[in-house]
């Protein structure tokens, strides 16, 4: 967890410093704002990982001496198949077609998207109970 945190925090720090130089020097705002947002985007998950890396003991994947048995056990539920990504993808497709060909494409688009939302949630509930 520590390396993960450091990668993001150092990147964020670098963007921060670079931006301080850039914004003051260029007096142009678009780039400054975007770089600032980039810095935040690194700090947000980075500080989360840093917070936890100090509070938990090394995971098997962070332990250079871990044996394969130390990782045995439940690591998550992975759905074997699911129709909902396809449904949602088609929904998004129709929504985009609505941008080009007319608003009525939103009906199948949003319909499919909402259907997928319910379907995936229900599937997740069933799958998540293990």
């Amino acid at each position: 967890m520590k390396v993960e945190a450091k990668v993001l925090l150092y990147l964020g720090l670098f963007f921060g410093i670079m931006n301080a130089v850039y914004w003051n020097w260029s007096l142009e705002n678009a780039g400054g704002v975007m770089m600032f947002a980039g810095m935040l985007l690194c700090f947000l998950p980075g500080s989360y990982y840093y917070f936890w890396s100090r509070r938990m003991k090394a995971r098997p994947e962070d332990d250079p001496n871990a044996t394969q048995t130390s990782g045995a056990g439940f690591i998550g539920t992975f759905p074997g198949t699911s129709i909902w990504p396809f449904t949602l993808g088609m929904g998004a497709f129709f929504v985009v077609l609505a941008l080009v060909f007319g608003i009525w494409f939103l009906i199948p688009g949003l319909g499919l998207a909402v259907w997928a939302l319910f379907g995936a949630t229900a599937e997740g509930r069933r799958g998540g109970t293990h």
Partner: protein, 577 residues
Amino acid sequence: MTDVLDPPVQLPPPPPSHEMLEEHGHDEHHGPTGILKWITTTDHKIIGLSYTVTSVIMMIIGGAFAEIIRAQLASPNGTLVSLSQYNELFTMHGSVMIYLFVGPFAFGGLANIMVPIQIGAPDMAYPRLNALSYWLYLTGAITMLSGFFTAGGAANFGWVAYAPLSNSVNTPGSGADLWIGGLLLTGFSAIFTGVNICATVFYLRAPGMTMFRMPIFTWNMLVTGILILLAFPVLTAGLIMLYCDRHFGTHIFSVQGGGVPVLWQHIFWFWGHPEVYILALPFFGMATEIIAVFSRKPVFGYKGMVFATLTIAALSLGVWAHHMFTTGVVLLPFFSIMSLLIAVPTGIKIFNWIGTMWRGEIWFSTAMLMAIGFLITFLIGGLTGIYLASPPLDFFTHDTYFVVAHFHSVVMALLMAAMGGLYYWGPKITGYLLNERIGKMQFWFLFIGTQIFTFPLYVLGLEGMPRRVAIYPHDPQWKTLNDWSTFGAILIGISTILFVVNVAVSWKKYPSGDNPWDAQTLEWFTTSPPPHHNFYRLPQIRSERPTWDHNHPEHRSLTHGKHPELTEDGLEKVHSS
């Protein structure tokens, strides 16, 4: 059908003996078959394969556009296509290649398949999100290309869609809107893949697979994932603004309503330059793996390689306006210095690639040739890029064929690495090798063709031939140079045909076994193709090349700066498993 869920994944405890495992059934997974399997799968290997196949088809489509472009330019007054068709062709050539081929091929295709296997994970962290990525990519590609079937034709404002050319007055019609829509879809697909790669690397590594033992390819994909998350939302936001300008009467990018046209360029290139590294880093990673395996050595300067990748990522957010030097409104010294700085980590990488080959037992397989071709061609593209990072030189060459030549040296190098990746990992994905003889022919056509294609373009650029023109002045020298370039493009086209022929000829013909190259990283430890959820067993992971350590206990790698005791410990474990 939709509620087929696998039992929770258990990482199996080390089995008592190898023999027992061989009797273990290879595919215990039950589920839908045929087209339904393709539509409902959440297996990263199948999704990755769909991505790979789709993106290679996109490469062929984009390549076909390129051949038409080159045919048109074979004579100064070419009449093969009309001027407006030419605009559509170069726009869609660039768009298809950048948005629909290189990126999706790298992070949706090979990375999707290989990253989880390289770190010993059973799948991507979010398998259903992964499937959604593919559907967004596929529909995005269809959307963008369908512009050709509309009355006004496909988008024709270049792959960069500069304002004010891209507004609704200068570019009316649905081709442009389909381009925007398609890009929104593929943009989201990239973002979701970025999320997936980062989460997978952070949370699903096998025990002992510390960050500094990950293969360089996985490291590069992690950094690519972070860059995707930093860059792509900016593009999506920009596209929405562009759409609003076109249809809802906003004036974000138009002077009339108080907007700022150059803002589009800032937004586009704030995405666009990191995108260059999003495209390049995966192929750097592929080349690294290939060069190490076929030199039969560990990667030279592993940590330096990781550090260089991170440095490139860090700098890449601060160089976007080197594409805007000639606008006259950007801070030239800042962007020039930052751009030149990127040459340093890139140089480290080139040094390390050569160091990896140095005194290695080099095996000139097709994959290795492609990687070496990548190295040379990329060096040419990189060096000419240094010229362009200098504003006075860029003023002189901006929007000429010099720029086209520069970035084609780069992207053709990436194409070589991509082909290397297919020859190297293809056997892992399918269980079958490709024909090496045809492969080597393909390489030479591709490599020589690329140089013949780009060198005349450098000269033409320096002599002032502008890019994005369908006709050019009658000048015997220009005509000769253009003819050479077209000849190179034909050779490249032949190499692509040879690839397709090779796939057809070698179809299920040369079984590869699990580890045909005596490779080093974890993906070569499992079967070819890997089973559902990837591994029946895992070796002890004590260095960045666990498979090698397992197969060559007498030549185990020393872990970076670690006490040798550790090695002993791992050695015993390996023997007893």
